[in-house]
């Protein structure tokens, strides 16, 4: 998704103003002339200035770019769905892994993405299983990362 300079400038200007206003509220540090708000406050003002300059260049641009332009991928339902699935599977993994465990969550995540990206169906299950076991071995056995077992706690090694 592409936005023109007026839109991105406005967003940055508002963000900068919010940051600066919030930073102003930070209390002064004891015995110091420079409070914790000075640095973020300056960044906020910098963003306001940069946002204003971007807006100005957007106004001056001829012909003016449309406010929002969708990428080719986002206009095609299949690719847009794939993009949403990338985000969705990460959220699914984050929510499921503690309860369900690494093996089922990782397997489902991989299988769904392989299917969406067009990997041949007969390869999906063996590939997803092999990668899941491989990553588990690398992180859990070699690097001692405590990947959760979840439902498979009984089989934990």
């Amino acid at each position: 998704m592409r936005v023109n300079d007026i839109v991105s400038g406005t967003i940055l200007l508002l963000l900068g103003a919010a940051v600066a206003a919030h930073a102003l509220g930070f209390p002064a540090a004891h015995g110091q002339t420079i409070g914790p708000g000075v640095f973020p406050g300056s960044i906020g003002l910098g963003l306001v200035l940069a946002g204003a300059l971007l807006m100005r260049s957007g106004w001056r641009q001829t012909p003016r770019a449309p406010a929002v332009e969708w990428d080719e991928g986002l206009r095609q339902p299949r690719f847009a769905a794939n993009g949403a699935l990338v985000i969705g599977t990460v959220i699914f993994y984050a929510l499921a892994v503690e309860r369900v465990g690494f093996f089922p969550s990782a397997f489902v995540m991989l299988a769904v993405l392989f299917l969406a990206f067009g990997v041949s169906r007969r390869w999906i299950a063996p590939l997803a299983a092999a990668v899941t076991f491989g990553l588990h071995f690398a992180f859990y056995s070699l690097l001692s990362v405590p990947l959760p077992w979840g439902w498979l706690e009984r089989f934990a090694w």
């Binding site: 900068g16 940069a50 990428d71 985000i87 990206f117 992180f139």
Partner: protein, 500 residues
């Protein structure tokens, strides 16, 4: 001398050598697949190095990044798709040579020149870094403040694209760096009452998100078609390379020197070095008309430049803790995690570790010859691995890696959020490197600014009172004013033309 021997012992440990070999293969693979960059290889290695001792951890990153920068040339030459952004400058040229049936000649030359450039950069790193470190011991907060600001300024003004957009990226990075209570006043800022944000945002999930997850999202939205590889197999790669190196000695050395200089500048890395070296090669060539038709001169010069820049980027990173490029920005995070805090004192307190890093650099570049040869021979098999299979695996790797740092699901969320942010920024042509540099250097900038302001006691002239601080300060201010100066000069020239 004992430190050097200790360093050799650290590196020549079978475990470390095995790690270096595995990291080399990983780097070659990631570099050779278009869309997967050397920076991504380094970011993905962070969680893997988490439980390693400092030397193998750094060895992993040095080796993988050196291999990836060379391997990026392989799809550049064979498919006209640069494997990493550092190969983009000359990928048209290299591919034109492949179309003329000279694939092995151009890839062999790329390999040999990468090694020469890499070795050149290492020699400069080894000779200058300790001297600079001794010099840097005299630096006060004023010098450090200006040095960090100069580094960030270079990142904004040297990066391709509009400086205004670079500045926005930098400010976003600096803003993110302010989250948490690790600031001079120890006041929790922008934490929104969440405990997870108290210690600030972890660098690793942010890096993995920005350099790897964003790429997976991009692939999902616009998948690349299958690779069309040349049908012919690879001939003898090293045949005639000695003669070529002698003929092209000037461009290779000029590229290496230029790459080293650009790499050592904070904020500019291998990709910018390659673009500038290619341009200079054309400018000074006796046969500039041959550029673009499959001419080796630009390829060898830029190929040497990107590898020498990689080593030189470590100079400011190790001596001042100021990254030379995105890769060293990630490495600095790892150095802190390993208790090897970068800065001049590192050279005094832990010289054996620094020497070990130098030895690993040398080893990685020497290993590049046989392993690079193997990668070129196996290129077709590597390039045939479909990205629809790779991308989901990379995503799972990212998720597990982000989780591994603190065993926290919150970091997975941070990774995803930054993946989306980087995707949005890049889609709107905001460069990513200044954000990362701002994020890594934000704390240091604020710390030195606050210390300097307290020391100055309200007198701004104190920032320019010491000669070196004054020099750095003036240089920084001049770079910021350069667009205004250029515009004023242009107006004056235009007015003069009208008058005539």
């Amino acid at each position: 001398m004992t430190h050097v021997l200790e360093a050799f012992q650290l590196v020549l440990d079978p475990g470390v050598l095995g790690t270096v070999l595995l990291a080399a293969l990983f780097g070659l693979f990631v570099g050779a697949v278009p869309g997967l960059t050397a920076t991504m290889a380094t970011a993905l290695l962070v969680p893997v190095t988490f439980l390693m001792a400092p030397v193998p951890a750094i060895a992993c990153m040095v080796t993988a990044s050196a291999m990836a920068i060379f391997a990026g040339d392989i799809p550049g030459a064979l498919l006209r798709m640069p494997g990493t952004p550092a190969s983009a400058a000359y990928c048209e040229e290299a591919n034109a040579m492949t179309r003329k049936g000279q694939a092995e000649r151009v890839l062999g030359a790329s390999l040999v020149c990468s090694v020469v450039g890499g070795l050149f950069g290492i020699i400069v790193l080894v000779t200058t870094a300790p001297l600079l470190a001794e010099f840097a011991l005299q630096f006060s907060s004023f010098e450090y403040f200006w040095l960090v600001l100069l580094g960030l300024t270079c990142a904004v003004f040297i990066a391709p694209g509009r400086p205004l957009k670079g500045m926005v990226s930098l400010l976003i990075g600096l803003l993110i760096a302010t989250v948490g209570f690790e600031n001079p006043a120890a006041y929790p800022r922008f934490t929104f009452g969440t405990e997870a944000l108290m210690s600030g945002l972890q660098l690793t999930p942010v890096m993995i998100g920005m350099f790897a997850v964003s790429e997976v999202i991009r692939h999902a939205l616009a998948p690349a078609g299958p690779a069309h590889l040349p049908a012919r197999g690879m001939g003898r790669i090293f045949r005639g390379q000695g003669t070529l190196l002698r003929q092209q000695a000037v461009p290779v050395l000029r590229g290496s020197a230029l790459g080293t200089a650009i790499g050592a500048l904070p904020g500019a890395g291998a990709d910018i070095a390659a673009w500038i070296a290619y341009g200079i090669s054309k400018r000074f060539s006796r046969t500039p008309e041959k550029f673009g038709t499959g001419h080796i001169e630009g390829v060898v010069e830029a190929g040497a430049a990107n590898n020498s820049a990689l080593a030189a980027a470590w100079i400011p990173a190790l001596v001042f803790g100021i990254p030379g490029d995105s890769i060293t920005a990630i490495v600095i995070g790892v150095l802190y995690m390993k208790g090897m805090n970068p800065g001049p004192t590192l050279f005094i307190e832990n010289p054996q570790n620094i020497y070990a890093v130098f030895i690993v650099f040398l080893l990685a570049n020497l290993l590049l010859l046989p392993l690079g040869w193997m990668a070129i021979k196996l290129a077709k098999n590597v390039l045939r691995v479909p990205r629809r299979v790779l991308m989901p695996i990379i995503l799972l790797f990212c998720v597990v890696g982000a989780f591994a740092i603190n065993n926290s699901v919150f970091d997975v969320g941070v990774m995803l959020a930054f993946g989306l942010l980087a995707f949005g920024l890049e889609a709107n042509r905001f460069p990513i490197a200044p954000t990362i540099l701002g994020l890594v250097l934000g704390g240091m900038l604020e710390q030195n600014l606050v210390t300097s302001l307290i020391k100055a006691d309200g007198n701004p002239a104190a920032f320019f009172a010491r000669p070196l601080a004054a020099g750095l300060g003036v240089a920084t201010i001049l770079i910021w004013l350069s667009p205004l100066i250029r515009r004023a000069l242009r107006r004056r020239t235009a007015a003069a033309t009208v008058l005539h």
